[in-house]
Amino acid sequence: MADIAQSGPKIARRPTRVIPIVEAVLLALLIAMPLLVSDFLTVIITRMIILAMLAISFDLCWGYSGIMTFGQALYFGMAGYVVALLANKTGFVQFWGVIPIGMATGLLAALFIGWFLLLGKRTPEIIFVALGTLTASYAAERMVAGWQWVGAGNGMSVFDFLKIGDYELEPGIVFYYIAAAILVLVYLASRYLVRSQFGLVLAGMRQNEERLAFFGYKVQVFKALVFCFAGMIAGLSGALYAYHEGFIGPGSMGIVLSTYAVLYGLFGGAGTLLGPIIGVIAIESISFTLSDLDAVKSFWPVVLGVILLVVVAYKPTGLLGFVLSQRERIGTFGIGTARRDANPRKSDDGAA
């Protein structure tokens, strides 16, 4: 990688930063996409944007906090069901209400699950958390599949559109830009969190959890907070999804979608926030293409599985790992050295 300056050994050693470039490229694509593709594809891509939030919620848990959650769809699906029920049983479809309700649903569900799984007396094993979240997701899927009031196995259609005032938000270009704006906000909020001094604790925790306890940190509390925040984002994503697809079913709550959330994160590159977004784009584009290709139509999931396996086995840091150094992925958390002397007290999000 090219050195960017020769002015001193410190700066010369620092390689070009990749994250801002990837951010800029993705943002440009996000803005330009609907202008470049058909209305049909705009709807498909809107779905990817919504799923990207689910993927980010997984990454916050696993990539940043070491919580192996195999049940992220639970919060997604539960929020979807709650807003669908509200629409169908009470006719409430206002955007400004639906979004917070979706978020609150995800948050509360995650608080409930996290309480049991993370806040026990002893630090839980990764496998315990993985199985616990998986079981919760599976149980919820089975429960709604057998519950007539919420449509049982058929799920529920949402016939009304989401409304902002009197404006009806149909799937299409406006929905796209609203979802895109929300994704940007979710990304920025998550980035703010993981690059804060709180994020430093998470980074330390990933490297040596026991050590942090000897500083006086209650690591479980940090984990539980991230887990709840991630649940809230998954809930937001699920609420949007129910309206965008006009449907919510047991599958949106269960282990298949939960596993997809894991795959998005690992395939794109965990612990980066951008990786999961790339993971969603890559996996959804590949499956969209494969399922349409006559030659592989009947066994495309197998082909997809093989592709995922090859990438994750060959590159554990995921697609983004091809361009992103470990050093940059972890980042720095103090006031940047370059800015230190210039303006020590003013630090916005001074992380690399």
Binding site: N208, R211, A213
Partner: protein, 244 residues
């Protein structure tokens, strides 16, 4: 009353009685050396004090409260700081961030989310970097430091917490004689602020800096006293000449 009072502490690993009725008393602002042959229970005792594991019996009182069963994080919050025998800096964080992580441990969670103390902590981090001769390595990853410098970083991290009692397990392990001397110099000034319990095999080093020594052997206190007393102790002489 002493700052730290260890009374009748025992710890068993399977069939092994690693600590057997150990009494140690450490006064504020003193340097207390813990010596003894390999496997005599020195690290086990430090871990029981810091909360890395719990004592099976006996009591540990620190600064007026019984901490025998307390969690490590709570002990740390009361002013106990430990440097493990195996260095445990966070290798993939910069030296600077290692120190910041240690400083900010008392902040409430919301203040951390909002990064409120980043600016304030900066000056303290820079001071510590200067003091421990790490200033020009601030941006390097802690894992890239030499073993000796990692030890210094860890001592600096432990001190950043402004502890009342610092526990150091073999801080000069793997250091050159030159680095050892420097470590002693770095430690002396802290006596004004806190007490120190230090485990060391280098007897010359420990005699230089400690006021008081406790000698462990096979999980029991063999002898206890000032440096002069221990040097003159026939019991200690025997263990150190026949078995080390």
């Amino acid at each position: 009353m002493a700052l730290l009072e260890v009374q009748g502490v025992g710890k068993t690993f399977g069939a092994l009685r690693a600590l057997d009725g150990v009494d140690v008393s450490v006064r504020a602002n003193t340097f207390h050396g813990l010596i003894g042959p390999n496997g005599s229970g020195k690290s086990t005792l430090l871990k029981a004090i810091a909360g890395a594991h719990l004592a099976d019996d006996g009591t540990i009182t620190f600064d007026g409260s019984d901490i025998t069963k307390m969690r490590a994080a709570d002990r740390a919050r009361r002013g106990l700081s430990l440097k493990f025998q195996i260095t445990a800096v966070l290798p993939e964080l910069s030296v600077y961030d290692n120190l910041l992580l240690s400083i900010q441990a008392d902040e409430p969670v919301w203040a951390l989310v909002r990064s409120r103390s980043r600016g304030e902590a900066h000056d303290r981090v820079m001071d510590a970097l200067e003091r421990f001769r790490l200033a020009d390595r601030a941006d390097d990853l802690a894992g890239e430091l030499s073993h000796g410098l990692q030890q210094w970083l860890e001592i600096a991290m432990a001190l950043m917490r402004r502890p009342k009692l610092l526990l150091l397990d073999e801080p000069t392990g793997g250091m050159s004689p030159e680095e050892r001397r420097a470590t002693g110099e770095l430690l002396m000034p802290i006596k004004a602020d806190c007490a120190l319990v230090i485990v060391e095999h280098d007897l010359d080093f420990i005699k230089d800096i400690c006021d008081h020594l406790t000698v462990l052997d096979q999980g029991r206190v063999l002898d206890d006293g000032t440096v002069a007393e221990i040097e003159a102790s026939p019991k200690v002489q025997e263990v150190y000449t026949t078995r080390v």
